[in-house]
Amino acid sequence: AQSVTQLDSQVPVFEEAPVELRCNYSSSVSVYLFWYVQYPNQGLQLLLKYLSGSTLVKGINGFEAEFNKSQTSFHLRKPSVHISDTAEYFCAVSDFTSGTYKYIFGTGTRLKVLA
């Protein structure tokens, strides 16, 4: 079975600074990777996903992520964050066990953007 590790539980960053949220997954023959964002008191919404093709994936709200097979990583980046990016970010991998394509989630990274 797959596993996902988000190394940072909290990341504080000043407004307009760049940010990188780290995600590593356990190795598999093929992976599909996702980043979701959860704003305060809201449900999860998809930021971006990697299925195949270009290893640099662009998502909503100016976020992008790079799939690195050799390092089994899928780090999320934004060159300049806004206060409104304050949220919890979850990395997930699609896992096929027991006949189900379910998500295996990381424990989340809480991004706090400071004025």
């Binding site: 539980s9 599909y32 996702f34 979701y36 008191n41 809201q42 449900g43 999860l44 919404q45 998809l46 996903k49 299925l51 979850f90 997930a92 699609s94 096929f96 066990t97 027991s98 006949g99 189900t100 394509y101 379910k102 998500y103 295996i104 989630f105 990381g106 424990t107 989340g108």
Partner: protein, 115 residues
């Protein structure tokens, strides 16, 4: 509605009582998932439905937990004889067909507090 809805949004119950949590998926989505989000533990897969059948119940933590889905649409997650460790946010998601590349769309969750 356009998105996944869940009810109630908040539920406070006493230890030992039964609770029912409801999920209305996006119309036309055949796959439905329940996850549990506990503080500091990320999201934990509970159960998956394809249509009305549940081919994967592997994530249900004990036999006090059960779920059903009727008419290929609404799903109910039931927790019997609730315990304090059941306190969490219960998230429902649906996807078009339940394949590995599908995007899962999440509801806002039900926050369960067991006193």
């Amino acid at each position: 509605g356009a998105g996944v809805s869940q009810s109630p949004s908040n539920k406070v119950t006493e230890k030992g009582k039964d609770v029912e949590l409801r999920c209305d998926p996006i119309s036309g989505h055949t796959a439905l998932y329940w996850y549990r989000q506990s503080l500091g533990q990320g999201l934990e897969f509970l159960i998956y439905f394809q249509g009305n059948s549940a081919p994967d119940k592997s994530g249900l933590p004990s036999d006090r937990f059960s779920a059903e889905r009727t008419g290929g649409s609404v799903s109910t997650l039931t927790i019997q004889r609730t315990q304090q460790e059941d306190s969490a946010v219960y998230l429902c998601a649906s996807s078009l067909s339940g394949t590995s590349t599908d995007t899962q769309y999440f509801g806002p969750g039900t926050r369960l507090t067991v006193l």
